[in-house]
Symmetry: C4
Subunit: 195 residues, 4 copies
């Protein structure tokens, strides 16, 4: 398969998933203490919305970096990619779950565990995708800039941090969310490489 249509389909899924995050933001229907206060109480939704938006955006950038190197796509690649998208499509749900339950004591562990767990899953699929390309020379070409090896190294760092966020979720859910936020923010701000 020509990688063009794979990119187009993946871009479509990324674009829809990132836009569906807006359903996390619910218009308050009653506002006893004033609308300003009601909106203020929704801060977890806003916070989770921004984190997930940036994170999906970063995933899209990375996805592009990887697919840019693909010359021809085999069936296995298609299905690894599909597995990756399965994770991305779940993010609006896990984001909503995290925002809804973050202030509910012990239950927040489940919510944040699932939230960070899905990012662990997505990171794993990235590594699988890169490794598949590395072990099938004819599929990819390291024509310029960042090499697959560099992408793999960064993917593993991401996986480790998300796994740490997952473990934190079971003990200190808020710290888990903070880790996800710092990771995303660091990635966006740290523009110290060419691509």
């Amino acid at each position: 398969m020509k990688p063009g249509r794979l990119e187009a389909f993946s871009d479509g899924v990324f674009a829809v998933a990132i836009t569906l995050l807006v359903f996390n933001l619910k218009v308050p229907t009653t506002a006893d203490g004033g609308l300003g206060r009601a909106l203020g109480h929704q801060w977890p939704s806003y916070f989770a919305y921004v984190i997930s938006f940036l994170s999906i955006g970063i995933c899209w950038v990375n996805h592009h970096s990887i697919l840019d190197r693909v010359v021809v796509a085999d069936r296995e690649l298609l299905f690894i990619n599909l597995g990756l998208l399965l994770g991305i499509v779940s993010i609006p749900y896990s984001t909503s779950l995290a925002a809804t339950w973050i202030n509910h004591g012990v239950d927040s562990k489940w919510a944040l565990g699932l939230y960070s767990g899905i990012w662990v899953y997505v990171s794993s699929m990235y590594i699988l995708l890169i490794r598949h390309l590395m072990s099938h020379d004819h599929l990819a070409s390291d024509f310029k800039g960042v090499t697959l090896k560099t992408l793999l190294r960064k993917g593993i760092i991401g996986l480790v941090i998300y796994f740490f966020a997952f473990l934190s979720a079971l003990l200190f859910p808020l710290i888990s969310l903070a880790i996800c936020f710092i990771l995303a923010a660091y990635y966006v701000v740290g523009v110290n490489e060419t691509d």
Copy 2:
């Protein structure tokens, strides 16, 4: 019509439909026995979500295999394709129906019957699409790899299995869902052909 825009539109519909599956996953609003338990009770939603995601993904791969051979699209092709997309767009609904009603005794027959029935419809539209291309030589070219004849044979096998799942739904709804799952899993894992 140049097949490029037909592909772009179809890819868009596939991408949106597969992403809308996320609405099947509902954030629990109350959790008397703990959030973990509430999430556990939602297993049919998660299971149906994964089955439908994989199945739509497979449809997209097959759709690409077929359209890749199209040189020029006539009006009839456009409308057969539209009929196919009509089925795909219904999947988020039928998935939700199946997940909601699977544990409701006799009513689950209706839900699973409709779920597998829509896959029967989609398979039929695929066969119609391939047959239209086979009987109009100027539309398609068997330039390489899998031939239209092979795609047709596989399409018919899919139709037969989905029809069997449909019949099962009326007697053993859970078996019907299992058939759909096995078919999807087999297709994903069985990477034994080039394309």
Copy 3:
């Protein structure tokens, strides 16, 4: 503007709008007389879903026929196109309105009036789009197949029929919906021209 990106954006809007029609289909939450009966009572939703799906699909085919002729897009064209898309995006809403209220006596006149009224609006925007291209020679080229003049003639016939459906809505709402269905079905089946 190169017409390519205009097509891509329009295709995206068409694809999302046609897929959002699925939200018209609501999973029954209670089913006292059995799920089969509950599904049966939803026939207006299914019927309206199919009509709107086919109609948006036909619009997309026509939109392609027009934009295929565009060589360069000016700002006016962009905004006429935006006006057209405004109508298309409203269809999932008007479809839902029609399906919900069709069996409510006098209220159904409002629902079907709005449903067919939006199609009158969409048809008008099509005619505006074609006329703009006809009066600005440098924008379009009648390179082959159906001419802009033919498209205009067909557009006017569509407008007249939808206007008739709009008038019917005020007296016999069901007949109004039937007209919309027959128009769509006729268009799909009547494959008597090349493009």
Copy 4:
């Protein structure tokens, strides 16, 4: 990164966001004084829907004008663009907030303040995007038509007007919405430049 895929992803997000505006239009479930009256009471939803649709459409046109000049995209550009899209994706929410609360006295200040505030944010991101291109010569080329300088000037005018709408929201919420409407309408009608 080649700007092509950046455009495709952005177009996808714009297309989904503009289509999700339809969820602002809610089908009335009860209609004591008749459906016509119930629909009439929804005028703020319709009004806000049209304003936001036109405004997102205009943003898309402007976004195209800017990206059309991009020759190669660096990481910073990707993330400024992502920041811009973050604002666009929020519009269906802020539109719904504005339409729901516009008639609720003091609370409407919050709703309209947030609505116009997001447009202030979007305008700022546009200016950031243009400035980034202007200060990195190798990224963009002023090949023809409107220059980046002209786009910047128009961007600043838009920012000032939206900021004024934001201030108005705190005193006269309805005037704030009127400003947003007039700005959009003026932009659509004022076709006095080539591109």
